[in-house]
C-alpha cells in the first residue's frame, strides 16, 4: 500500500464533506421554508390579484401562445371559483375580470363562456349572483362564435331561471333555434315559455337538458339537485292538496301523514326524491324531513 500524499488525503476528505454539506443543505431547506411560510402567515397564501387586467394587452405579449395562456387563465377561474365556494364566500369580485381575460385571450374557448356564465349567474353561495355579468359574457361569446347555438341556449336559460324574464327567454330561444345545428326542442321551448312562463314542466325540461349534455360532475350534480327540488316541489303541492281534502272531509287537520295512510288517502308514508319521509309542519303544510337532502332554496 502506498501512502497518500497530503493533497490526495485532503481530496479524500473534501469529497465526502461536500456530499454531506449538499445533502444537509437540501434537508435544511425544507424546515427553513416551512418556518418562513409560518412566519409570513396568511400573507403568504395565494393572493387573489389580477396583475394584468386586459386580455387584449396580454395577447400581444405572449408571442403566439395565447391559447395556452387562455387555458391557464381558465384553470385560474375554476380554482378561484372553487376556492371561494369552499370558503362559503359570497365575494366573487375577480370572477368576471378573470373570465373576460380568458375569453379575450381565446375568444373560441367555448367552455369558458358556458361554465363561466353558470358560475357568474348562480345565486350565492352557489355562485356569484351576477346574472347581468353572465349575460355580457355570453353576448361576447355569441359575437365571437355566431354559429354556436348552445350559447343562445345558455343565454335563454339565464333569462328564464335567474332573471325570470320569460318574454326575453322566449325571444332568445327562438333566435337560437334558427342557428345551424340547433336541436328542435329550442323552438318548442320558445313557444312553451311564451305560453306558460315559469311552469315547473318547462324548468324540468331545461334542467334535464343541462344534466344530459354537460361532462362536468359539479354542474351535472347541480342540475340533478335542481331536478330533485322540482320533483319535491311538485310532490309537496300534491300533498298539500291532499291535506286540504282530508281537513275538509274529516273536519280536522291531520297532524301526521300516518293519519292519511290510516284513512286511506295515501298508500304509504310519502317520501321525498331522496327517500326521506315528508312531515307536516307547524302550519299544517307539508315540509321536508330534517334529514332530507333536497334543497328547495335552489328554486327561489
Amino acid at each position: 500500500m502506498t501512502a497518500l500524499t497530503p493533497l490526495a488525503a485532503r481530496r479524500r476528505f473534501i469529497r465526502p464533506m461536500c456530499g454531506i454539506l449538499i445533502a444537509a443543505g437540501f434537508l435544511a431547506l425544507w424546515p427553513l421554508q416551512r418556518s418562513i411560510d409560518q412566519l409570513q402567515g396568511a400573507q403568504a397564501q395565494f393572493a387573489d390579484v389580477l396583475y394584468l387586467s386586459s386580455g387584449t394587452t396580454l395577447r400581444r405579449y405572449c408571442l403566439g401562445y395565447e391559447g395556452l395562456l387562455a387555458d391557464v387563465y381558465w384553470t385560474r377561474v375554476v380554482q378561484y371559483f372553487g376556492r371561494q365556494r369552499l370558503a362559503h364566500s359570497t365575494r366573487f369580485e375577480l370572477l368576471g375580470p378573470l373570465l373576460r381575460i380568458t375569453t379575450e385571450l381565446d375568444p373560441q374557448l367555448l367552455t369558458a363562456y358556458r361554465f363561466g356564465s353558470i358560475f357568474l349567474a348562480e345565486k350565492p353561495p352557489g355562485g356569484a349572483g351576477q346574472p347581468q355579468e353572465a349575460l355580457q359574457l355570453l353576448r361576447r361569446g355569441i359575437v365571437a362564435n355566431p354559429d354556436y347555438w348552445r350559447l343562445w341556449q345558455d343565454l335563454g336559460f339565464i333569462y328564464y331561471w335567474d332573471l325570470k324574464d320569460y318574454r326575453n327567454t322566449s325571444r332568445i330561444f327562438r333566435i337560437g333555434s334558427e342557428r345551424p345545428g340547433a336541436l328542435p326542442w329550442m323552438r318548442a321551448m320558445a313557444a312553451s315559455v311564451a305560453a306558460q312562463g315559469g311552469e315547473i314542466q318547462t324548468s324540468r325540461i331545461l334542467w334535464t337538458e343541462i344534466a344530459r349534455q354537460v361532462d362536468n360532475d359539479a354542474i351535472r350534480q347541480s342540475a340533478e339537485a335542481h331536478l330533485l327540488a322540482l320533483d319535491a316541489e311538485q310532490q309537496i303541492t300534491a300533498l298539500n292538496a291532499l291535506l286540504d281534502r282530508y281537513r275538509d272531509q274529516q273536519g280536522h287537520a291531520a297532524s301526521s301523514f300516518a293519519e292519511l295512510v290510516v284513512a286511506g288517502y295515501l298508500p304509504g308514508l310519502p317520501v321525498d326524491p331522496t327517500g326521506v319521509p315528508y312531515v307536516i309542519g307547524a302550519k299544517g303544510r307539508t315540509i321536508l324531513g330534517p334529514r332530507s337532502k333536497v334543497d328547495l332554496a335552489l328554486l327561489q
Binding site: L63, V78, Q108, L109
Partner: protein
C-alpha cells in the same frame, strides 16, 4: 453529396451533444399536464393538451434552433476545425448549406418524435383519434417553417459574430418578428408619413413570425386553409433563401488566418 455529408455530420454532432434529451422533458410535461389539468380544470383537457404540446414543440425547437444555430460556424472557427474542412475539396457555400440542413434535420427529427408523443397523449386521453386531429399536423408544419427561418437567422449571425451576440440578435429578431403587426399599426396610428413608411418597410423586411401562429385555432379543431399553407411555405422558403445566401456571402468573404 458533400452537402449531405456535412449535414449528416452536423446532425450526428447535435445528437452527441444530447440535444434530444429535451424529449424526456417533453414527455414528462405532457403526461403531467394531462393528469394535472384533468384534476384542476374544467372542460379543456384536450384543448390544453394540444396547446401545451404544440407550444412545447415550438419552444424546445426554438431553443435548439437558437443555441445550436449560433455555434454552427463560430464553433468550427473556435475549434479551428474549419481549416481542415476547408482544406478539403469543400466549397464554402457547401459547408454553410450542409450546416444549415444538418440542424434542420435535427429539428425535423426532434419535432417528429414530439408530434408522435403528442398524438400518443391525445390517444390516451380520448381513447380514439379523429380525422380532425390531423389539423395538428398543420400547426406542426408551420412550427417547422418558423424554426427553419430561425435557424437561418442564427446561421447568418453565427457567420458574422460571436455566439453570445448571435444568440441575442436571433432572439431579438424572433421577438420583433412576433410584433411586426403591432409595429406597423403603431406607425399608422402615429399620423406621421415618415414613421408610417419606416414601419411599413420593417413590416415587409423583417421575418413575420405572426404568419405561422395557428396553434390556438388548431386546438379548437379549426382546419388551416390551403392558401395559408402555400403562402407560408413560399414565405419561409424565400426568407431561408435570403438568409442562407447572406450567410454564404459573408462566409465567402471571410478570411481565416
Amino acid at each position: 453529396m458533400r452537402v449531405a455529408t456535412i449535414a449528416l455530420h452536423t446532425f450526428k454532432e447535435s445528437v452527441r451533444e444530447r440535444v434530444l434529451y429535451n424529449l424526456v422533458v417533453f414527455a414528462v410535461l405532457l403526461t403531467a399536464a394531462g393528469i394535472l389539468f384533468g384534476i384542476i380544470s374544467v372542460g379543456v383537457k384536450e384543448i390544453i393538451l394540444i396547446n401545451l404540446g404544440l407550444a412545447s414543440i415550438s419552444v424546445f425547437g426554438l431553443l435548439i434552433a437558437i443555441f445550436i444555430g449560433i455555434g454552427l460556424v463560430s464553433k468550427e472557427i473556435e475549434r479551428r476545425s474549419i481549416y481542415s474542412i476547408l482544406s478539403k475539396p469543400v466549397m464554402r457555400s457547401e459547408f454553410i448549406l450542409g450546416k444549415y440542413l444538418g440542424l434542420l434535420l435535427t429539428l425535423v427529427v426532434n419535432t417528429a418524435i414530439m408530434t408522435a408523443g403528442l398524438y400518443l397523449a391525445l390517444f390516451y386521453e380520448k381513447r380514439t383519434l379523429a380525422l380532425s386531429d390531423l389539423n395538428v399536423l398543420g400547426a406542426v408544419y408551420f412550427i417547422l417553417l418558423q424554426l427553419a427561418v430561425v435557424v437561418g437567422i442564427a446561421l447568418f449571425f453565427s457567420s458574422i459574430s460571436t455566439p453570445i451576440l448571435s444568440a441575442a440578435f436571433t432572439f431579438c429578431f424572433y421577438i420583433i418578428g412576433n410584433f411586426l403587426a403591432d409595429i406597423r399599426w403603431f406607425g399608422r396610428e402615429a399620423q406621421n408619413v415618415f414613421l408610417e413608411r419606416a414601419t411599413a418597410l420593417l413590416y415587409y423586411l423583417l421575418p413575420n413570425f405572426g404568419n405561422f401562429n395557428v396553434i390556438t385555432r388548431v386546438s379548437h379543431g379549426e382546419k388551416i386553409p390551403g392558401y395559408l399553407v402555400v403562402g407560408n411555405s413560399c414565405y419561409a422558403l424565400l426568407y431561408i433563401t435570403i438568409l442562407v445566401s447572406a450567410a454564404i456571402l459573408v462566409f465567402e468573404e471571410r478570411e481565416f488566418k
